[in-house]
């Protein structure tokens, strides 16, 4: 069976060329072949959200896409949020608000909330709660995540007000 293919994509801005089994999921490709193990796998059927990554700017389930499907695409994972050791504003807010305990769900939660913030500059707590419904957390709960996300949105707006030419988060 002709079961492998070559793909070209970018992952966190870096060009990647790889030969993948056609049945390999995007999440397994990131974890096993690129050793980007920040992307977690919980349920592998789309329910828990631990595997959430961005493909061409849209948050998707990494367990429900095939690696071959990102040929030509730009992929962003949790490893692409920080700038070296400098946490992103959302990551920093998670830290300040104690929005993680074991951290298993956190990569997926961060990628979902980052995508949400990219599209909503002035969300309500209700908006955040609804956007968070596709990510399951088994230990921290959700209140601190909502608080951290709202704080990031608020800080973003303030930052924007102070320097209107800075152009938001730039991504």
């Amino acid at each position: 069976m002709a079961t492998t293919r070559q793909i070209d994509c970018t992952v966190n801005g870096e060009p990647v060329t790889a030969t993948v089994e056609t049945r390999l999921t995007l999440a397994d490709f990131l974890r096993d072949q690129l050793t980007l193990t920040g992307t977690h796998l919980g349920c592998e059927h789309g329910v828990c959200g631990a595997c959430t990554v961005h493909v061409d700017g849209a948050a998707v389930r990494g367990c429900l896409m095939l690696a071959v499907q990102v040929d030509g695409s730009a992929v962003r994972t949790v490893e692409g949020l920080s700038d070296g050791d400098a946490l992103s504003p959302l990551q920093q807010a998670f830290r300040e608000n104690h929005a993680l305990q074991c951290g298993f769900c956190t990569p997926g939660v961060l990628m979902s909330m980052q995508s949400f913030l990219d599209e909503h500059t002035n969300p309500t707590a209700n908006d955040v709660t609804e956007a968070l419904s596709g990510n399951l957390c088994r230990c921290t709960g959700y209140a601190a995540v909502v608080a951290a996300t709202l704080q990031t949105a608020r800080d973003g707006v303030e930052h924007h007000d102070q320097s209107p030419t800075s152009g938001g988060n730039g991504s």
């Binding site: 999921t25 849209a58 419904s133």
Partner: protein, 297 residues
């Protein structure tokens, strides 16, 4: 929890896709993958060939046909595209309202309109809408393109009228006059879960705004196929639009037969059906009486 091996094809044209589907044994189309990938991961599906339609030209998009008064939606149009489309929000708001209940924004970023209809889950929101809307589905094969009325599309549990060499290419949704009433109501245990029961309602008032010119009510979650509550429609069409009429119409849902399970027995589903239809009719009537600009998110 990993997909079984398969031959992978990613055609670029509808024509190539149809040839693959007609020539290959045991081929399965993959669109958004939000239902098929879980089945592959759990090995409930083990197709010999996977035909990926994500790179096929011309399968996605929204087209307005004014002379025919229909909106045509390409099968591979993402659910999220429908949810955020400003023209649909204005002219066919039932669609974005229904779609906002499908899974989560991450699954709607991938999931397609055609995939949801072809999968035909017993409580799929889009199945309820296609039924209430009297949509026409277009299925193409190397033999022909045929039009299938939504009423003839379901053939059983997760089973449609599509043959294994057919590709769903588009659906046509007949338009309703601007300012018509609409509502999508569902009950699910948690936000984003599949509905236990859901109701889609379309409603048009006459020029006096006192009586109902026509309405449509469809339910999912009561059995393998959507159910049109035609008895309620007949009762309401041409009649005075007051709350008593809406209540009596909704109560007719109790006479339907439903397939239940341990978690949600038939009786319970029918009780939900009545409540959801009543809420839906009320909301649709309110919206028809006071048309407002629907929110886009």
């Amino acid at each position: 929890m990993k997909p079984p091996p398969f031959h992978y094809h990613d055609p670029r044209t509808v024509e190539d896709t149809l040839h693959l589907l007609s020539e290959l044994d045991d081929a399965k189309v993959i669109a958004g993958g939000q239902s098929l990938m879980p089945m592959l991961n759990m090995r409930l599906a083990q197709p010999g060939h996977l035909v990926d339609i994500n790179r096929v030209d011309g399968l996605a998009g929204i087209g307005w046909y004014e002379p025919e008064q229909v909106v045509r939606i390409g099968a591979a149009t993402r659910q999220r595209t429908i949810e955020k489309d400003p023209d649909l929000a204005r002219r066919y708001p039932l669609l974005p309202e229904a779609i906002s209940h499908i899974g989560h924004f991450q699954t709607r970023n991938r999931g397609t309109v055609g995939g949801s209809l072809a999968h035909l889950d017993a409580s799929a929101e889009l199945v309820a809408v296609a039924s209430a809307a009297e949509a026409t589905l277009y299925a193409a094969s190397t033999r022909a393109v045929r039009a299938i009325p939504m009423a003839d599309f379901p053939r059983g549990h997760l089973t449609t009228d599509l043959t294994s060499d057919e590709l769903l290419v588009a659906i046509d949704v007949p338009l309703w006059p601007d300012g018509h009433g609409y509502a999508f109501e569902e009950f699910a245990r948690r936000h984003g879960d599949f509905a236990l029961v859901a109701a889609a309602v379309l409603l048009e008032l006459d020029t006096t705004h006192r009586s109902i010119r026509r309405c449509r009510v469809s339910l999912v979650g009561l059995g393998p196929a959507p159910i049109r509550l035609t008895k309620a429609e007949e009762l309401l069409n041409g009649g005075v639009a007051d709350d008593d009429a809406l209540r009596s119409a909704a109560a007719l849902a109790r006479n339907l037969s439903a397939v239940g399970d341990d978690a949600a027995p038939a009786e319970y589903r029918l009780a939900l059906a009545e409540t959801l239809v009543r809420r839906g009719l009320r909301r649709a009537l309110r919206r028809a009486t006071q048309p407002t600009t629907p929110e886009v998110n």
